[in-house]
Each structure stands twice: as structure tokens, then as C-alpha cells.
Amino acid sequence: MLVFFMVRLTGDPSALMLSREASPAQIEAFRQANGFDRPILEQFGSYMGGVVRGDLGQSLNYNMPTMQLISGRMPATLELAVAALLIALVVAVPLGVLGGIYPHTVAGAAARLVGLLGQSVPSFVWAILFILLFALNIQGLPSSGRSGLNSLILPALALSLGGMGQLTRLTRAMVLEVREENYVRAARARGLSGRAVAFRHILPNVAIPLISVVGIQFTYLLGGSVYIETIFAWPGLGLLLQEAIFNNDFPLIQAITIFIALFAISINLVTDLLYAWIDPRVR
């Protein structure tokens, strides 16, 4: 809804879409064909009706339903985001746990470093760095396009590092907090080994809040994919959005935004449900 009115605030896209030489009659015909001449509330009503039926309108530039374009590009973006999330988790969780349990060791320092770098270095800078470092020197790691697993490595890695930093920081923080809880100290006082305390008492209590964080991270990754897809020419939703912006294809911009927002909301809903299912205290 927000998006609809924001997009229309700029006024009529007709003038932008057609060339400068278009006659007033041509513009008028275009407006009528796309319904831009009707009152804005009526446009809104028919648009929302469409959204409910899964119809997000027609792309001006491609002249086909936006939903079709989006669903065509979605798998590539999902592949990239899921790969990035997996890379981030595989590194961040063990590192955060180790860094939290042994704060004053190499692991602790590494966790802090990954956290700091992940938060400070933007994904597009990682992307540039990786292309300069690897794609030129190492054969078989292409830096553009989507063709098999090898082409996924660099974009997914560049996308994952920001989330990896966040997840490491959060995991470490949660472990540090849980470590001080009375039940952990009691377990330690009963003479349990450090390993037993870590696996039986600390980890389960860290894993639960981590789930909701992972859900949020995933939606961040979807947003971050705009840069990464642009740099690596990865044919996903982010690249489509960048093209739509470039072409002033307002219906498409609107459709992509609504789609991503709905997708993000459903991910948050799923994580909330999952959370309630695992942690009975929330029910």
C-alpha cells in the first residue's frame, strides 16, 4: 500500500515511459491503456484486487505480467541467498560459540574480528575485492553470470560476509549472556566438564533465539542481493529491480517491492511459528 502511493506520488509515468516526440494523442492512448487516467483511488482499488488474486500488474518495459518475470527470476535469488545464509551459519555459529565460551583466546579474537569486518565492510566492497583477487587469477571461478556451482561461489561468499559478521556477534553475545546464568554455574559447580556444560546447557539455550535472528538475516540477504546481483550479473530479482529502476518501469518496481515485502513477512511468520513450536515459553 505504502509502495503504491509512493510510486504514484511522482505523478504519471506515461510522460516518462514514452519518448519525447510522442504526440499528446499517443500519450493519451497510453494512459488509457494502462489505466493511468482513472482517479487514483480507483486505480488503487483495482490494483489491490489484483494483488489478492496474485496479479501484480503488467510490466511496461517487458509488456508481460510482472508476476511471470518475478517467478522467473526468483529461483536464482533464492539460490544465492540460501547459499549465502548457509555459508554465514557454518562459520558464524561455531565461531560465535567458541568466541563466547573462550573470550580471551584466539577464537574470541577471531569472533570479534569477523563481527567487526562483517559489519564494516559493505558487500559490494567484498565483491570487488573477490573479483580482483580470485576471478582474475583462479580459473573456474567466474565473476559474472549464473552457470553451475562454480559461478555461485564468489557472489554467495560476498553476500554472506555481512550476515556472517552479524550472526557471529549475536551468537557470541548470547553465549556470553547464557554463560553467566545460574543454571550454567550450577552445572559447572556440579563438576561437569566444560564440554558437557557447553553442549547440554549453553547451546540449547542459544539455539532457540538464534532461529528468529536467522529469519531476519535471510530477509537482509534478499535486500543485499541487489548489489551482488548487479556486480556479478546474477540473473535474479535484484538485477531485475535494478533494470526496472533504470527503465522507469514503475509497475515492475512496485511489484518486486511488494513481492519482496510479502516474502519477508512470511519468512518472519514462519520463524515466529517455528520459535513458538520449539520454545514452549512463547506459546
Binding site: 505504502l2 509502495v3 509512493m6 567487526l116 569486518l117 570487488i128 580482483l132 530477509t219 529491480l241 515485502a261
Partner: protein
């Protein structure tokens, strides 16, 4: 008698406050992370203010020296330390000028977001009821959309200018401040000293500004610092996508975009590397400072 003891308390409070301010300052400066972060940040502020004086070259280019590499490389000129771009503009000078955009967006955006966000957060947290419901649902609505996508759409619509970028960041970043302020107010409201003040008949405005707000400042400063680093990154990202300040304005993101066009940067890597380095250095500095500020000002949130 009552007056004198009140004065004594005031005086005590006053002197304690000055000692805490100095000790906070010491704790920040005598820490490696805090000191490095602060030093880099101050350098940036200095560059931004005196850019016209410091920068060795103006913003106009000279085609005679188009695409020179760095001074220490073959073909480089000692006139242009970090090389020149296609138009013959000096990269080093443009980076110095670019600090203005980053700093203005970060300061302007965070100030705006903090002002609106703190006001709404105090209202929402203290008044509760329908005010809270309206504000909270608005906040949740904005937070449900991935931030970058929201900013991209807003920037596409409102067009490229510095003031628009500041407004967009200021408004879209508001919910974060609302959420923090509201949560803290809710937590503090149930504390005994607030109940005590209420039962003494203190007016709501006095409770909010005298008893609640001062306890929020630490957390808010910390948040503002982190949001500044995020805004510097997001602004350069937006420039990089061609959606921030107009292309002729030297901003780090614009330089990066220029350097990345086609596969130009494989041949002229200095056009992309130095702006990227500038963005990263500043974000790193602000984060280091933010980490230290959190440890000092907001020990509960220690991570």
C-alpha cells in the same frame, strides 16, 4: 533547611556529573579501539570541512591526464597521488571532497531519524493505548520490508539530490529509534523510582524528561553511532546503484560506480579500490568507536 539540603544534593549531583563526563571521555580515549575510531572520524570531519583547502586539485578534470595510475606506478604522475579518472579528475582530491556527502548524509540522516524516532518512542512507550498501537503498527510495517529495498524504491521515486537522500535515510531509519526508545521506556516505567516520582505527583512531562530520558541517552548515543556507520554504507551503496546524489557530485559511491562500469576496474583498478577503501575505513572507524561507546555508556548491552 529543606532548601539547603536540596542545594547540597544538587551540588553533589552536579559535581558527580562532571566527573562522570571526564571519566567517560577517558575510558573512550584510553582504549585502542575508541582512540583509533575517534581519530579517523575526526580526520574525516576535518577533511569534509576543509576539503577545498586540503585537496590538491579542484573538481574539474583535465583530459590531458586522463586515467593515470597511482603516482608510484609506471606512467603515474607525482601530481596525482592516487591517479586520475577518465575525465582526468584527481582521485585523491575527489575522495577528500566525497567525505562531505558521506558525513552530511550520516549526520543529517541520523539527526532526523533520532529526533522523530525518540519523540515517537517516548510518546508510544509512555502513553500506551491507541497512540502506542498506531505508532507500533507503523514501525512494524516499515521494519517488515528489507531496508535496502525500501530505500531503493524511495530514492527511485524522489529523485537524486542530497537533501532527498538525507530525508529518505532520516525517515526510513526512524523505526529503529522508535523501537529502542519505546522498549526502554516500557522497561523503566515499571521501576520503583518512577512509581515514587508518580506518587509524589510529578507531571508526566517531568517524569519523561527528568527521570526516563536521561537514562536512555547512553543507549541512544550508541545506537546513533552504529546507525551512522550503516548510513555511510547505505549511501555509498545507493550511489553505487546510481540512486543517490547526482553523478557529477564526487561521492565515494559515485566514484565506485564509475570505477566499476563495464569491466573498467580490471584495467583501471585504482578507480574502484580507493573509494572502496575510504568507505570501509570510515565504517570500521565508526563501528570501533560505537563498540567502545556501548561498553562504556551502556554496559547492559555489552556484546
Amino acid at each position: 533547611m529543606a532548601e539547603t539540603s536540596k542545594l547540597a544534593i544538587l551540588r553533589l549531583g552536579g559535581s558527580q556529573r562532571t566527573t562522570t563526563t571526564t571519566s567517560i571521555w577517558r575510558q573512550i580515549v584510553y582504549n585502542p579501539g575508541g582512540a583509533i575510531g575517534l581519530a579517523i572520524l575526526l580526520t574525516l570531519v576535518f577533511c569534509a570541512i576543509f576539503a577545498d583547502v586540503i585537496a590538491p586539485h579542484g573538481t574539474s578534470g583535465d583530459f590531458a591526464v586522463s586515467r593515470l595510475p597511482e603516482a608510484w606506478k609506471d606512467g603515474g604522475s607525482s601530481e596525482h597521488l592516487l591517479g586520475t579518472n577518465r575525465l582526468g579528475q584527481d582521485v585523491f582530491s575527489r575522495i577528500i571532497h566525497g567525505s562531505r556527502v558521506s558525513l552530511l548524509v550520516a549526520l543529517g540522516g541520523v539527526s532526523l531519524a533520532a529526533t522523530i524516532g525518540i519523540t515517537l518512542g517516548l510518546l508510544s512507550g509512555y502513553m500506551g493505548g491507541w497512540v502506542d498501537r498506531v505508532i507500533s503498527s507503523f514501525v512494524n510495517l516499515i521494519l517488515s520490508v528489507p531496508y535496502l529495498v525500501l530505500v531503493i524504491v524511495a530514492a527511485t521515486i524522489f529523485g537524486r539530490s542530497l537533501i532527498n537522500v538525507v530525508l529518505i535515510f532520516g525517515i526510513t531509519d526512524t523505526p529503529i529509534f522508535v523501537r529502542l526508545t519505546r522498549g526502554e521506556v516500557l522497561r523503566l516505567r515499571s521501576q520503583e523510582y518512577i512509581e515514587a516520582a508518580e506518587s509524589l505527583g510529578a507531571k508526566p512531562s517531568r517524569i519523561v524528561f527528568r527521570h526516563i530520558f536521561p537514562n536512555l541517552i547512553g543507549a541512544l548515543i550508541t545506537l546513533a553511532t552504529f546507525e551512522m556507520s550503516q548510513m555511510i554504507i547505505y549511501e555509498s551503496g545507493l550511489s553505487f546503484l546510481g540512486l543517490s546524489v547526482p553523478p557529477e557530485v564526487p561521492s565515494w559511491g559515485n566514484m565506485l560506480r564509475e570505477g566499476m562500469q563495464g569491466s573498467a576496474f580490471l584495467i583501471f583498478p585504482w578507480l574502484a579500490i580507493y573509494p572502496a577503501l575510504a568507505i570501509t575505513t570510515i565504517a570500521l572507524a565508526v563501528n570501533l568507536l560505537g563498540d567502545r561507546l556501548r561498553d562504556v555508556l551502556d554496559p547492559r548491552m555489552r556484546r
